[in-house]
Assembly symmetry: C2
Homo-oligomer: 368 residues x 2
DNA sequence: TTGAAAGCGCTAACAG
DNA sequence: CTGTTAGCGCTTTCAA
């Protein structure tokens, strides 16, 4: 219960103006406990090396003085840190929430902190942030997506070269990508796009549309679009591509629905870049008495919570978001424990068929 | 464009086993540029003090060597850091997303990083995290909510005592709270609850319900509930309280709707702890042909994006989420620039009336 | 089981 | 405008 101000100063320089903030240091604790700095240091890192009696004494002192270890100093001295830097396009985006959660939990149990940085989709900004983040000498780096400048990529490769594990999440390359040099945990976006097209075609549609998101420069959504178009073409089915207006995705979905019906009346099925867009379209359709899926089948992407609550339920593609986080954590931890670069992990997307794409006949059997 | 592997080592100690990671240091840059460390240091912090020609030379060396400043060392030496620690109950929760966004942006433009930590609602865990976070000697601390142990509170007060700005967001105390010692930026949750009750009563309801969230131990949602009940009682209106089952909020809302109609048939209006619950109830009602708002009026909280897209639109309370983040950033920055504790900020919640609570008559005029 | 000495990479303070 | 000196608070050898 000693007030912190009572904490001993360096005995020699007690009156000299101390530079650091006034918090008690290892030295202060040691002084009070009647040992040396290193003993207090050991108390935290390997108490089993100390005499039980010493442990006891130090613990009490630490508590009474209110000592909090200075991480910066520790990491500077040891040359290694317990921070895992994570770069995510948008911290606030629900899509990444589960991934971040899984990653954070996985790391925390092993005693690592997560330095989370939202980078936006502008590659240029990413480079700057990456540089800042490297200044923390992170124990590992987790980045999202392929879309980055050559300089940024070089920074990552250098970091890995210097022994820092670098893992890229949310993506998995189909072919040789110039970025495949990094360990990747994610799913194949192109294949996901193909999956979407295949489903619409399988359910009998000959005129389909793909609605791209208007807000993102994220290459991954474009890969899905390309996969969709490619698959449709392969099956001899016509596919038109529309781009949703920027702004609120629910609004965008509704607007695009109108465009679609007006400009492309022959189209009978539409796939969307994400469930928010599809939801907006579905709600708009219901409000205007457009029969889903009879007049128009709707297929989303991402399996957001709302999707199965809509009427009809929104068919969609389930992405392994939480799993990506968990596996990324495991991968990073493994890599840090032994310096062997771990393998990539390709996770599966699964199609979830609900009312919005089922032919009317089958829909009867679906429970509400 | 020199490959970073060319980066100079300490010329003297090139072969000696260096303790730190192998990255180039100020010393390395200085050596190559033909100046001393401090000059390179100044190049980063106050280049205007250097001769233009020196600036040029240092810049080139920095680039060719691939130097990245070591933040830990810098902060240790200077005693101040550029990190603002932020503790949020749940990083993945959409409610906090906008706040975090606003905070992060506000801080970034002033050159601060945000160390974001998700603490969950368990007070015990918060204390541990707080302790870890303090080890980073943050330039400021932003915490969420009142719910914490005495020890955690003491840590915060100590930190403030040591000159670290501490700001609490998302809450604002009505009466004297034992935690009111911290600067607070938020809104009055009790008043928000009262607002909700008042609206339902104003629109003619005599039997109302409040549906609490089943997943959180967050005191703030309980404050809203208490405000609701208190207001109802004051107006002589009966209010029953239900608690949604844990798990998916949309499911929970649907389930609670059934309970409500079965067990409390006289009730004609229900307020929900958040828009997700209310949305679940609304969708469920539509699926079962229950007239909203004629049979049952529904009122949410939080003004989530989906709410205005439902049919009927979900009446709700708009909370100043983004504003909280922005103001918190401004407050923290102000406090760091001059050591005068800034004032609390009480922000307003506003009622947003849509179809789900409007009497049938007025609803005719509303645009779809 | 504990200690002494020597830095980690950087910046504050005071010269020149 | 640039340099010198002395740490920041901790951990790493190596010794006792």
């Amino acid at each position: 219960m000693l007030p912190p101000s009572t904490a001993a100063q360096h005995p020699v320089a007690a009156k000299k103006t101390r530079r650091g903030h006034g918090r008690p240091t290892l030295y202060d604790v040691a002084e009070v406990a009647g040992v040396t700095q290193i003993t207090v240091s050991r108390f935290f890192r390997s108490p089993e090396l100390l005499a039980p009696e010493t442990v006891q004494r130090v613990r009490q002192t630490v508590e009474s003085v209110g000592y909090v270890p200075n991480l910066q100093a520790g990491q500077l001295a040891s040359g290694r840190s317990r921070v895992v830097a994570t770069l995510i396009p948008n911290v606030g985006h629900s899509v990444f929430a589960k991934t971040v959660q899984g990653l954070a939990e996985g790391l925390r149990v092993s005693g690592y902190e997560m330095l989370l940085t939202s980078k936006g989709y502008q590659p240029q900004r990413e480079e700057r942030q990456l540089r800042e983040v490297l200044g923390w000498s992170p124990a590992a780096i987790v980045v999202t997506g392929l879309h980055r400048t050559a300089a940024a990529q070089q920074l990552l490769l250098d970091a890995r070269g210097a022994g820092t594990p670098v893992v890229e999440i949310w993506d998995y390359p189909t072919r040789k990508t110039k970025h495949r040099e990094l360990v990747q945990i994610g799913f194949n976006h192109r294949a996901a796009g193909q999956l979407m097209a295949a489903h619409l075609i399988d359910t009998g549609h000959q005129h389909v549309a793909y609605v791209d998101s208007g807000v993102t420069e994220d290459v991954r959504v474009h890969l899905r679009r390309d996969g969709f178009i490619g698959q449709a073409r392969k099956c001899g089915v016509q596919a038109v591509v529309l781009t949703a207006p920027p702004g609120d995705a629910l609004d965008g979905g509704g607007i695009i629905l109108k465009h679609l019906l007006d400009l492309h009346p022959r189209i009978t099925a539409a796939a969307f870049a994400n469930d928010h867009l599809a939801t907006g379209a579905l709600l708009q359709a219901r409000a205007h008495g457009i029969a889903i899926p009879e007049r128009l089948a709707l297929l989303g992407f991402g399996d957001f919570p709302i999707s199965r609550h809509l009427h009809p339920g929104l068919s969609t593609v389930h992405t392994p978001t939480a799993e990506i986080g968990r596996i990324a954590a495991a991968t990073v931890l493994e890599w840090m424990s032994r310096p062997v670069q771990p393998a990539n992990a390709a996770l599966d997307c699964t199609l979830i068929v609900r009312g919005s794409t089922k032919p009317a006949l089958q829909r009867e059997n679906a429970k509400p």
